[in-house]
Symmetry: C2
DNA sequence: GTTTACAAAGGTATCGTTACCATGATTAAG
DNA sequence: CTTAATCATGGTAACGATACCTTTGTAAAC
């Protein structure tokens, strides 16, 4: 591909300026704040830029202005649909605004997250978006020192560090469990993800336990199973749960992925849902309304989380308030037929 | 968060140099090619960098060296698990090598892809990874002019432009259809995605048609339905297909997402799979082995695609060959119980 | 012991843009 | 009609790193 002609120095602002018969700085202005140059020159500059196929060198601009027009995003995993969707939505909002996304996945490891933050900070991102509120002290310190706006998404803490956009996973899990109780289920098992470094899952588990407690119910003996969020683990977890607890009448899965695994296993084992066993999930992934029976679950406004997070960043970057604040987007219990 | 003390000029290489009692250039070398400085000074520099919490300014380095250590990746959509997985794998390989990923989604639009390429090019990426081989002429020209290595993934063209890592979607679809024919199915319907700007899907459709033709079979009247890749569209497409073609005995879905939608609709309508209707998919997503019945499908080595693509980029960036070439990773027919 | 080779370290210029300040032109205010 | 205020434009320096070249020191070769 690369044709070897000459060193082919790339077209710079100076070249465009010469072509248009103006100063370099005017080209800069024409391209980044068009309303600050006269229509006449603006047109000339644009024509010249087009003619020379000028591509600005962002690195140079970043070096001088200390603004990279990059937003760094770190999620636990990109390969989970809920995070992929969030990223996609954010990307769609940042793009037209001229910002690009630097994406990393921590694999639920705080060390890896810290290492990513360190690496990303070297690119002077204009903002950083992290998942959850659980981060290493160094991570937080690094970001504070760099004076980079921080938006934490997906879960709501007691005290915000900076901006937070999410829902109360505790409240949502509690509400869902209450529904189960209200419907008359009494022996409710829990299937969730590992709690390490995952405050979303941890809060869901707590919300579940809180609902049982306030109803005077107990968590069944060995009624809690935790496995990574994969379909097959839902299936396995159910088997495990049932082998320990034959008279379970309901299962709360802290993620639809697990819940769907549970439903599939029920189908395999011929367990009728919800007659023999009620199953509820969390997230409301696309598939949840197509399972049989359709899954009762908690709808998390995940696109809205992405959208608001991105909008908050943009607002902040154009001079918005820097006060720490929590944006609670709320959840919704979606009753379908699995409970 | 941002504490307003003083302008807090950030720590530069010069500061580290002063602290370590060496020249700035030595710091540069110590950090980027440690084996080119004496162990003694290396240690001193590292200590100084640590003490001052030095963070390199990549923009400055990029400006000077014309190397950004950024790789741009454009996929049609991030929110589809197969692309999310590919991205995750690539990200995992690039990260330890010191490269970061700039990710964009084109929404299956060539114009949007072109616009993304234009925007990304301004960041002087060290390589660009695109999905499929169908791109606008300008896109290709832009990349060629910028002399940026290009890797195209997921599908294999006749003539490679640069590096290609993928599978033959044509061959795979053909092989799958042949299997259906070999098993005795004769009235085979097709459910696929829209073909515009999607050479993967297009080649699958062609492969399907080719297999029927070589067996002397015909595509059933109105036996082809195309809808965006969503579960619900699989369900809808099946209904549509069946209403036009009551004696269909098999359905080839060009994506597991659609196939799973089909399976769910079969369950709803009480159609026995595979006895009344065989269903096969394409991709082998995680869920495919958990449906009931488990889905017969084409396994696409999508993690391997991501891995190889990333490795090829790294190889190329450390001086590897620049000859255009195709890396065909092959596919596998996974026979489960849905056909 | 002298010459050659090579490694280690430093000096300086430079990448391409934008911040900052200055200038001249135009308009508004008195 | 003068003065101030505002706008459009330009000149220059600087952001922080690395490429390139030079210098110095040490080991190898004869």
């Amino acid at each position: 591909m690369a044709r070897k002609t000459e060193p082919s120095r790339s077209v710079t602002m100076r070249d465009v300026a010469a072509e248009a018969g103006v100063a370099a700085i005017t080209v800069s202005r024409a391209l980044s704040s068009p309303d600050r140059v006269s229509p006449h020159l603006l047109e000339k500059v644009q024509a010249a830029a087009k003619k020379l196929q000028y591509t600005p060198n962002i690195a140079a601009g970043t070096l001088r202005s200390q603004k990279s027009r990059i937003v760094a995003v770190i999620v636990p995993t990109i390969a989970h649909s809920i995070f992929a969707e969030t990223i996609q939505v954010m990307s769609g909002i940042f793009r037209p605004a001229g910002y690009h996304l630097l994406i990393g996945h921590s694999g639920y490891s705080l060390e890896e997250e810290e290492s990513l933050v360190t690496a990303f900070l070297a690119r002077k991102p204009d903002a950083i978006i992290l998942t959850g509120y659980t981060h290493s002290a160094t991570t937080i310190d690094l970001i504070a020192r760099a004076e980079v706006p921080l938006v934490e998404i997906w879960n709501i803490p007691d005290e915000p560090r900076d901006t937070v956009v999410g829902i109360s996973n505790f409240d949502a899990a509690q509400a869902m469990t209450r529904l189960l109780i209200r419907k008359g289920y009494r022996k409710i098992g829990y299937i969730g993800g590992p709690r390490e470094n995952n405050d979303r899952v941890e809060q869901r588990e707590r919300g579940f336990a809180a609902a049982l407690q306030e109803a005077g119910l107990e968590v069944p003996e060995r009624g809690i199973v935790r496995k990574p969020l994969e379909f097959e683990n839902g299936a396995r977890a159910l088997t495990e749960l049932l082998s320990q607890n034959s008279e379970l009448d309901a299962v709360f899965a802290a993620s639809d992925i697990l819940a769907i695994g549970v439903l599939m296993e029920c189908q395999n084992q011929g367990i009728r849902v919800p007659e023999q066993l009620a199953v509820v999930g969390f997230d409301d992934v696309g598939l949840a309304s197509y399972t049989s029976p359709p899954l009762t679950t908690v709808r998390v406004p995940r696109e809205e989380i992405g959208r608001r997070a991105a909008q908050e960043v943009l607002k902040r970057l154009s001079g918005g308030s820097t006060e720490p604040r929590i944006i609670d987007l709320g959840f919704e219990i979606i009753e379908r037929r699995s409970a």
